[in-house]
Symmetry: C2
Subunit: 323 residues, 2 copies
Amino acid sequence: MVTKEQIHDSSLPVRERMEALIRWKQQEITSALAALDTVTFHTDKWTRGNTGGGGESMVLQNGTTFEKGGVNISIVHGKLPHEAVTRMKADHSNLKESAKDGSVDFFACGLSMVIHPINPHAPTTHANYRYFETTDPETKEVQAWWFGGGADLTPSYLYEEDAKHFHQQHKDALDKFDKDLYPKWKKWCDEYFFIKHRGETRGVGGIFFDDYDEKSPDEILKIVESAFDAFIPAYCPIIAKRKDTPYTPEQKQWQQIRRGRYVEFNLVLDRGTQFGLQTPGSRVESILMSLPATAAWAYDHHPEKGSDEDKLLEVLKNPVEWV
Amino acid sequence: MVTKEQIHDSSLPVRERMEALIRWKQQEITSALAALDTVTFHTDKWTRGNTGGGGESMVLQNGTTFEKGGVNISIVHGKLPHEAVTRMKADHSNLKESAKDGSVDFFACGLSMVIHPINPHAPTTHANYRYFETTDPETKEVQAWWFGGGADLTPSYLYEEDAKHFHQQHKDALDKFDKDLYPKWKKWCDEYFFIKHRGETRGVGGIFFDDYDEKSPDEILKIVESAFDAFIPAYCPIIAKRKDTPYTPEQKQWQQIRRGRYVEFNLVLDRGTQFGLQTPGSRVESILMSLPATAAWAYDHHPEKGSDEDKLLEVLKNPVEWV
């Protein structure tokens, strides 16, 4: 079992502290979500080959609040082939390949989660925090390393107060360390979760960052923990408030159409999903855990001007500064 | 209005004869399908800019037999940019670019259709036949040209007699011209419609071909017409036989999961869909018309060994020679 002390013990390598953090958060977040439902999470442990690490997928299906939700952690390591190293060098010039075969040893760990509630007034959410490092093939010392992650909200119906609350919690978590982070990562989120072929964002955003190594690993780990800590107070109160809102079959159908767009983003555009599906030996069920239990596509569907459905589309087409 | 004579008039350019064929077939196929339903097709005409051509999408939604179906034709032309020409030269060395900007004039037309019935015992189908040509930017003469297309069947429950019937109709249509075509195109179909990350084919196959220019355009047009002619007798009798088969909610749910796999193939792997979504100015609604009205994803779903659901998976994992 991990302890909170491990996360904060600066005598430990960052990789071990980040692993402790994601293991801690997986338990904390699944407990907080399960408290909003009558059904609980099912855990699957998996391994990547014999020696490449593995992970734990925790999945809740057909609950009374949540239709489908997954909170997955993975802790993997191995050798990056020469071609992957060459691509990475564009952003990380300090990567040093093995003289033998041009490979690089890597370690990666992260938590990735997607939660789809049943009620169309209760928003879907996604969060992901990850750490990546490479080690010198001869000395075994850490070479390049970076953090990435974020959290975002995808409602079918717009409640401005929910969007503001979700953003405010994450802004507060980042402002404590650096007031430039939230504005930059909020914009990055809007740009990343943009469904190009639809001309709309996936949801009302949140924060997103990648390749982050501009402070010390110790300081970034604190920032990541703070953003992580913001997740439960940012999301759970919204679900508590919306999960029992009465809804019509038409509102449920609109949610299904929005879920179709969610599927489009994840399968067509999400780099993590595409990378995962193309990686031999990856665990497909853990990657596609992000897909909703149900989704719909209606040909050439356009909500009535001025309707609640149209109001959502307006903010997806023109991202808003929520806080 | 097109006439059947135009299709067979060898004094006309192939592009006009193929356009006549797809227009004719769109009417014939939508009429045959509508005869199996109480709801009919809705037609949308669209144009690509002011001078780039356009198309007609015919869509049926929420019918009594069909949940969603679209039969789309497009007839487009314009200039291929230099980079696209460079890629195409790998397969078509006779492409001659404009001396000015390295572009090439192109013309493309085709019919593309996907039909999703309501009843889980009634299979989904897809068919597509297309013609592409480039013209010399100076002389306006046809340079490279090729045909592509095919038709395939995607059942949720395996009826061997249906798979055999669908394949036999298409084999007969091709054997009249060249007995090598069916075996080659049947194999190509199994290979193309393979969901790599699932290790299974999308359905029980059919025929698929691309870049086909190994006979005279006049002869290939006859082969394409013959394959096209096979579609209605290959598919409609199966629907007539299966559309009123009683089914359980569990069977409907299995169909929804299979539709999830259909979405995965189309969004992650289908080259036509990816090309379309990346092409600025393309009509997204016509491209994504292929998606089912509803789909589902269940985490780590595996049917019981020996069940009807498992029997389908067996043939998707190990493609069968149906005829």
